[in-house]
Amino acid sequence: MLPKFDLLIPQTLPEALKLLAEGAPDILPLAGGTNLIVDMRGGHRRPRALIDLARLEELRGIRIDDGHVVVGGGTTIAELMTDPLIADHGRPLREAAARLGNPLIRNRATVAGNLVDASPAADTAPPLLVLNAELELASQAGTRRLPLEGFIVGPNVTLLRPDELLVTVRWPIPPPRSAATFYKIGLRKAGACSVVTTAVLVARDESGSCQEVRIALGAIAPQPIRPRAAEDVLSSQSLTDTAISEAARLSAQATNPIDDVRASAAYRRRATEVLVRRLLTEMAIT
């Protein structure tokens, strides 16, 4: 049973922002509801009112703009799986979308919702981190841009202000000789909260040697992280087995996992090392 609340249904984004400004902080935006409705039913959130964003066209759409992929915050996870621009320029995000929840959830859950809910295990976060994603946050006062890195500060806590909406997620089209991928370990193959997630992106220069490596780790700390020490080990280096192993080891070291019903901290650290090693190896031979 859901607690009582008012439900406001704006027709435009400016209207939504106005309602949000007037009602904050007791008012929450509702997109897919796949986390929020569950939290409300469980008594973890009791907003006075919700703002339904599901109809706002301004929050939809995926396009290219000035060398960037721009994804509306209201884009569903299912749309991420099938969109050709994501297939071409956001492969790790597409792979994460395919492992998030299940088809019924994906038809409602949105990329903004996943990021703003900010579960430590949010599946869209590691891929977007290796894509160097930037967020556009809008309020009645205007818009601002923040890098995704650092936006999530702890379990279910972000830098989003109570009167803001996450309206777009954008990232620069990855360089031509780059490859990226994502892997998730869960206790079953659908409908599984992630135990460990890993994304990597490897960019090469014209001669083929490794120019930049980005690694992102999820479900292994209060927020998803980019293990910089691990990345630094690989910059301007060939992706030898030794270098990859070292990066994997440093990645595991950078984690700060907990024991919970799904896995122990020790397992999460260990699996992180395995996944980083494997994904980098795969990218090395791609």
Partner: protein, 157 residues
């Protein structure tokens, strides 16, 4: 939290009903008599409540009824009747895919959403499409057969 008059389009019928904002589509449907939409968990884990909203299969327990205004909603009972069953409903019956039958309406909704987009799915694609519908009775084998059978029969028509 005042109820408001909401118009819901369900299985081609129009319903005018006063609903509070905190009523989920699942409960609105069941209270309107669409008891084929089942409640199994009310948090999106089981898929028993699945309906089509504008051709997308979703968990109706996670949709607020007000959000469903102006949307075409299709439940399993809207696909066919005992006198005139939908090929999926026939195939599920023929293949033994409904044992206790409680997951079946939601399962058929996911199957319909699949076949609408992909009339010739592989087994892997079928497994993927129904991976949000938990079944505790069948082990999914005869469900997959039923969907393949329906796909074939629908093609032959």
């Amino acid at each position: 939290m005042k109820p408001k008059a909401v118009t819901l389009n369900i299985n081609g019928r129009t319903h005018h009903v006063a609903l509070a904002p905190n009523v989920t589509l699942l409960h609105a449907l069941r209270d309107l008599g669409y008891t084929d939409v089942k409640s199994g968990c009310e948090k999106g884990d089981c898929g028993a409540c699945a309906v089509l909203m504008n051709d997308n299969a979703v968990n109706s327990c996670l949709v607020l009824a007000w959000q469903a205004e102006g949307v075409e909603i299709l439940t399993n009972s809207g696909l066919g009747t005992m006198e005139n069953p939908h090929p999926l409903q026939e195939a599920f019956a023929d293949a033994g895919a409904a044992q206790c039958g409680y997951c079946t309406p939601g399962m058929i909704i996911s199957a319909k959403a699949l076949l609408d987009r992909n009339p010739h799915p592989t087994e892997a694609e079928i497994r993927e499409a129904i991976s949000g519908n938990l079944c505790r009775c069948t082990g999914y084998g005869q469900i997959i057969e039923a969907i393949q059978m329906a796909a074939q029969r629908m093609e032959e028509v």
